[in-house]
């Protein structure tokens, strides 16, 4: 029997539906999450099964409903908060950073905040500077939060189920350009543990560490490189915290060359952190300095040719990899 395929959006929806069936404490807060199913239609159909009592449409009050989710998580529910565009997390930052992230620690371990904040990242949707950012580094910086970046429909379902079952606040970033991406997703229940990287493609000459949207770019670049007899390994951390340092270092030591790809800003960003982990843990196994590739350090512009220039592509990654390999191969 051929493997069942779902889109990324369908995989997210299936994870939510399964967890809501399995656990009556799970509920979803957000703007237009019920009948509208969100502007991306990721939640379409859920309200028919679970009703408006569990798909809770809110006013446009990100701080308010995120704060309510924090309190509800402390007192017996397992809320999933939907923040439509990742750019809007700025409005809920106090609730996530000063409240959700710190309550377990500040209370000496007495209170828990088992909640998930789902939101989006990624440029090239022609949405301009306030609807295109990838702000996952901000949350990765904060002790007490976990940060998840699925790159395939399979991972989206398994990681989201693990996030909902986690006892901690988890921020779950979905690349909005990936919602229509199809891939195999088993119908059965499975959860992917948070903090376990996956080698998406095995190779010998260079490692491409890539997150979220950049995994597909890295895989495309690896195909281009293969035609030029460069064997690229693609490894996806899947979570920026906890970070599977061991798997990243093992790949770096194996290939001796690493490019880190992340759609956030490189400056003080996720790519920088992973590059530092590699520099500290695999320096003597490297044949070249670790390279970072991410969004350009500009607000995301609207004009299509300008916007396209701000993010790494298969071609730019391929060129960078060739340059890194040319003296040694």
């Amino acid at each position: 029997m051929p493997e069942r395929e779902l889109t990324f959006a369908q995989a997210v929806r299936e994870a939510l539906a399964e967890e809501m069936r399995h656990d009556p404490r799970v509920c979803i807060f957000g703007e237009d999450v019920a009948e509208a199913g969100t502007p991306f239609k990721v939640l379409s159909g859920l309200v028919e099964e679970f009703g408006p009592e569990r798909l809770i449409d809110t006013p446009i009050s990100e701080a308010g409903f995120t704060g309510i989710a924090v309190g509800a998580a402390m007192t017996g529910l397992r809320p999933v908060v939907d923040i439509m565009f990742g750019d809007f997390v700025t409005l809920a930052m106090d609730q996530m950073v000063n409240q959700a992230a710190k309550i377990h620690y500040m209370s000496g371990g007495h209170w828990r905040v088992p909640m998930v904040l789902r939101t989006t990242l990624g440029a090239t949707r022609r949405s301009a500077a306030q609807h295109s950012q990838s702000l996952h580094a901000w949350f990765s910086h904060i002790p007490g939060l976990k940060v998840v970046l699925p790159s395939t429909p399979y991972d989206a379902k398994g990681l989201l189920k693990a996030a909902i079952r986690d006892e901690n606040p988890v921020v779950f970033f979905e690349d909005k350009m990936m919602y229509k991406l199809k891939g195999p997703v088993p119908a059965e229940d499975y959860a992917i543990p948070l903090g376990v990287a996956e080698v998406k493609r095995s190779g010998d000459d260079i490692t491409l560490v890539a997150t979220s949207s950049m995994v597909q770019v890295a895989l495309g670049a690896a195909n281009l490189l293969e035609k030029q007899s460069i064997s690229a390994e693609v490894i996806d951390p899947r979570t920026t915290w906890p970070l599977d340092e061991a798997a990243i270092l093992a790949s770096a030591k194996k290939t001796s060359r690493v490019i880190v790809l992340d759609e956030g800003y490189g400056r003080y960003g996720v790519a920088s952190e992973i590059a530092a982990v590699i520099a500290e843990g695999a320096f003597y196994d490297l044949d070249a300095p670790v390279k970072r590739m991410g969004a350009m350090q500009v607000p995301i512009p609207f004009s299509p040719p300008l916007e396209d220039a701000t993010v790494p592509t298969e071609e730019t990654v391929c060129a960078a990899a060739r340059a890194m390999c040319k003296h040694q191969l």
Partner: protein
């Protein structure tokens, strides 16, 4: 607008009411004497960090918490010792927390501004002004969803009226008819600034704009606070929607213990007036004696017992060990 005051007949000839009001007196005295010890510890440099004293505002925490059940929730503020004690926290573990000791409510990780205690429904004090308005409203949401009959009380100072998230959650609480009571302790000063310089319109008007049942009460009158809180808590518990209680009160000390020279923002005459004419403990003592519920000796005895309790609690905390440094990485994740 008139400020609600307590019914002068309340408590007369009723043994249970007599017990209630004597208990309220004891609770207020305990808070006052707790804070005296905090002031002493702080000024003797025995307490690290900051100390924001609740002295002068005791009737608000006690009046509200006397209207609650043990399993009801509260959220508190940076000026939160009174709320914790009124909800049932034990002074020895509170002092231990204030001193950063392992025996403290938060194993020394929270300190004065973050005391939390699941056993008494205390979701935690919060050092972000207005930071707990969402948490309290969320606890009320869960209570309603789970049908457990609990109510959540969100204590905040009038300074939090400047935070937009308060209006977001009041809107949601009314839309969803949540069992939550917002208690605005108006002690007149947003830190060092009189609230009239920061607050346009009226305080109750802000809550009423969302349809909340809102009332103002003399926050120095513990019986008035309790009566008003009980009415709002009862209707919230019955599913009739959230309430808002403005309690007019006064902060005897500075914003924190180190705020000593205060003349640039408030006069000594004003402080003297509140302490001599409007003290919630003295006002309640007079009422208890007038009603024949207590005499001076029995009230003095309450103070003697409370002082001994606080002295013992401080001793416990001073003798308690600090947490081992290996605990620094514990409790980051559950």
């Amino acid at each position: 607008m008139t400020t609600a005051t307590s019914n002068p007949q309340a408590g007369r000839d009723r043994a249970s009411d007599k017990q209630l009001w004597i208990h309220a007196y004891r609770q207020m005295v305990r808070i006052r004497l707790f804070e005296e010890q905090v002031n002493e510890l702080y000024t003797r440099a025995l307490m690290p960090g900051l100390a924001h004293l609740y002295s002068g505002e005791e009737a608000v925490a006690v009046g509200v918490c006397e209207a609650l059940r043990l399993e009801d929730y509260i959220t508190s503020t940076h000026r939160g010792h009174g709320h914790c004690l009124a909800k049932g926290a034990s002074p020895d573990r509170m002092f231990a927390e204030l001193l950063g000791k392992e025996a403290g409510y938060c194993r020394g990780k929270g300190g004065s501004m973050h005391i939390a205690d699941p056993a008494t429904g205390n979701l935690g004090a919060n050092a972000i002004v207005g930071g707990s308005v969402g948490i309290a409203t969320g606890a009320a949401f869960a209570a309603k969803r789970l049908g457990n009959g609990r109510v959540a009380v969100c204590f905040f100072g009038e300074g939090a009226l400047g935070q937009g998230s308060l209006y977001e959650v009041m809107n949601l609480a009314q839309l969803w008819k949540l069992p939550v009571l917002y208690v605005c302790e108006n002690n007149l000063y947003n830190e060092y600034t009189h609230y009239t310089e920061t607050t346009a319109g009226t305080i109750l008007g802000r809550a009423r704009a969302f349809g909340l049942e809102a009332t103002v009460v003399d926050g120095q009158d513990v019986r008035a606070v309790r009566d008003a809180a009980l009415r709002l808590v009862t209707r919230a518990r019955a599913g009739e929607g959230p309430g808002f209680l403005e309690a007019d009160t006064y902060r005897y000390s500075g914003h924190h213990v180190g705020d000593i020279n205060r003349e640039y923002y408030r006069s000594k005459q004003e402080e003297h007036y509140w302490k001599s004419e409007r003290d919630p403990i003295q006002l309640h003592a007079h009422w208890l004696m007038k009603q024949g519920c207590a005499d001076r000796d029995s009230l003095d005895q309450i103070a003697v017992e409370a002082r001994a309790e606080m002295v013992e609690a401080v001793k416990f905390a001073m003798a308690a060990p600090y947490p081992s440094t290996h605990q620094v990485e514990e409790d980051v994740y559950a």
